[in-house]
Amino acid sequence: MKEELNNLKNNALAQIIEAGGINTLEELRISYLGRNGSVNKFFKELGKLDSDDRKDFGILLNETKKTIEEAIGDKEQKLTQTLSKGDKYFDPSIPGEKYKIGHLHPTTIVINEMFDIFKHLGFSNIEGPEIESDKFNFEILNLPKDHPARSLQDALFIQEPEVVLRTHTSSVESRALTEYKPPFRFVVAGKCYRYENVNASNNAMFYQFQGFALQEGLSMADLKGTLIYFVKKFFGEDREIRARCKYYPEVEPGMGVDIDCRFCKKKGCSVCKGRGWIEMLGSGMIHPNILKNLGYKTEEMSGFAFGMGLDRIVMDRFGIPDIRSLYNGDIKY
């Protein structure tokens, strides 16, 4: 009898494993575990055995019943899972519900990035007014009236000739030089204005980024190292930089910094006007006249300054072809 029971169990388990659908499984349950099922038949036989055998066989019979029940339960679970996959169609490619997100303006993104780079070098970020006096926009910066460089910076006047919209962020430099005691390192970004009719290459307003430092012991090597650190961080470690002599009235010695043209790899193309290099920023040691006028001895105190236009950099970084699009609400996010 024990052998018979064992065979029954093996058969049942094999059939359960084979069962391909929930209906087959139900049939199996009825045929094995139902009231008139095979397992119950053995229970009916149980009374015919003597007491010792009855106890042993009873245990075995209960175990067998339990094993079959569990096997059916497991199988059922598997089958229903498969079923649900087949029944409910799932399309992960369906678009999500629209969620309105905001964006920073490309110029803000660039300014933030630059501020963060200079923060590592100990520069503090400051600001200054846009409506500016002739004194801070020109005079202090070694640009007296009738200075030739003034004709290149046609100002928008609020009140001629003393009140202008600042023509460069250097006006903040002149304010800081008068207001703060060295040592200091500052960076400034902001709107500047020139007398221009808006066209494909010019706006009457543009953004500049400016930095300057005043501290005993600063040198051209510090300036060059600072700018190269910045350019590599901002434009990429693989970019090449060229420092050359260039005159600016606010500095002496003056230095122009160019970056390799990434379009032609320095071979010369229309973007770089065949030069292989793109002018990036102007810089130099703060002019001795400026320092002397503010009461510093040039033997004791030195400083450097640098400045660059931001709009071209922003256009280049974000692939904006027309300068007018930057500040006329044309940018679609």
Partner: protein, 649 residues
Amino acid sequence: MRIPIEWLNEYVKIPKNISVLTDGLTMAGHMLDKIDNTKYGTVIDLELRGNRADCYSILGIAREVSAIFKTPLTHPKTDTLHKTIKKISGLFLKADSNYVKRVMMVKINNVKITKSPDWLKNRLSAYGIEPLNNIVDLTNYVMLETGEPMHAFDADRIGGDVFIRIAKKGEKIITFQNKTIVLTDDDLVWSNNKNILSVAGAIGSKEFSITDNTQNIILEAASYEQANIRRTIYRHNLLTDAGIRHEKKLDPTLVEEGIRRYLYLIKNEGWGEMGGELFDFYPSPITSKRITLYYDYINRLSGFEIDKKISVDVLRRLNMKIVGNTKDSIQVIPPSYRTDIESKEDLVEEILRIVGYDKIPNNVLSLEIPPDKMPEYIEQERSVKNILISLGFEEVISIPFTAPKYQPLNSSLSQRTNPVIVANRPSPEIEEMRMNMLPSLVEPMQKTINEHGEISKLFEVGKIYSQKSEKYTEYRAAGILYWEKDGMSYRKFKGKLEAFFTILNIADVKYEESECQILTESFKILLENNIVGIGGNYKGAYFAEIYLDNLLGKSRITKVNLWPKHPPQIEDMTIKIPRGVMAGEVMQKIKSSSTLVSEVELKDTYNISYTFRISYQHPEKTLTNKEVEKARNSISIKLKNDLNLTLDA
């Protein structure tokens, strides 16, 4: 300036490879603009800087090439026969202005006017000046060669008396290009007894210019006060080859070099006879500058050690005289044509640019880091932008002027009344500065609407400007504009504003109705009784402007709330609120009626029925129904007593 290579090569040996030449010049301060291959040979176009008046000449560039590449310079031949005198027979000159620094004149008789020979024509053409006749072409030639502009008059037409004076306002001159110029009393001119002969340093009159019939000429070269010339040439748009040289600081010594070069060439070509007298008016001759330069200073400003011998060698190559030499310093006299050199820093630049800026090491700032001086509001302004981004708004940056069609918006929405006006507007769009942010945001929003968009959420953080009796003020502001095609409401917009203030850790912001001609549902935003913003409905879009100056600058501590240990009891309460009673006030009353009310939230409104969700909570225990009921009664009493409202059953 355009430099024909063939011409340059006459005075200095140049590197075979043109790019070696142009790289050298670029690094030393004269950036190559472009290389032009013409039928007259290669021409390099250099972007010269305004301080180097001496470089606006072939010779000037030749001197630079000589210094950079250590190659000898050949000077062009000049007349050495004629002595200068103070008076010239048959010609009287009166220089009646301090603007005249030096004038030389000479009469050349029996000139032969012809077409110029090829060497002359080709060089002028390569540079970009149209050849005319030999006499005029030669003045241009010598100008390009030496840098000294000069002018030839028809001697028989001008007569015996010549004046250099300030023009009378309204005097006229017709230039040889047939352009009439009406002069001002700030323009320096040459004249005879009757007529204006030329605008000094810029352009000559047609009437007295050289023609095919000219027999005798007066040749002049001069040096003027550069600022006056600059004002004149920009005023009358006379950016001629002479003008752009005279508006820079030209060396008065050049006047004589130029004249003598001209005399040499005219004699050599046999184009005229020199009168024999060379007039020179030079009231205060320049004196040479002497600059003391310490070697130690060179190293300190450069940031690296430059060998003493190298410094001295470089300065000598640049024709500087070293007149004193100690262990620590040198005395340097720059050549007279280097009008730009005034200080020891200028000399350091000279040394560096010839040694090469590429030799300057890249120091990472090694000095002590100065204390941070950034004002608090800058970082806060940055977070204001980030907050608005997180609320789904797009940043706009605009040119802060108000176009004419938006000017009514500019004046009637602002707390201030007088806009800042540009005195010299380039166009009507660049004239009136904005006094509020709405005009800057309406235009970009309109783009979204025009393109059948569903939603436009914009902001700008920037400045607004105003003036009062010539005092100009700039305020920091955040403008916010929100438009949705469907389902737009004040509540929806205000939710964003509330979120904005919450992230900024600013509580207790109040909104009050205000008067406005432009906006409906107009409100002002108050913080501690100060107006920190305004807003309202503009043609279906909601606008708010936050005055950041009144908000930022103070640091605010972020408070963190933890989940309560004891859960709240929550119930909804519907109240009929008649017009005239503010929902905000009702909520305030509910909140203040019992310490157990931890939160009041508006869930729903239907006509005048408002459903509030009220949370009752105690920090240390779970409330019993009895305690909640007591709190509910307090609310009921408070609403009844203070506002005469009853709770719906």
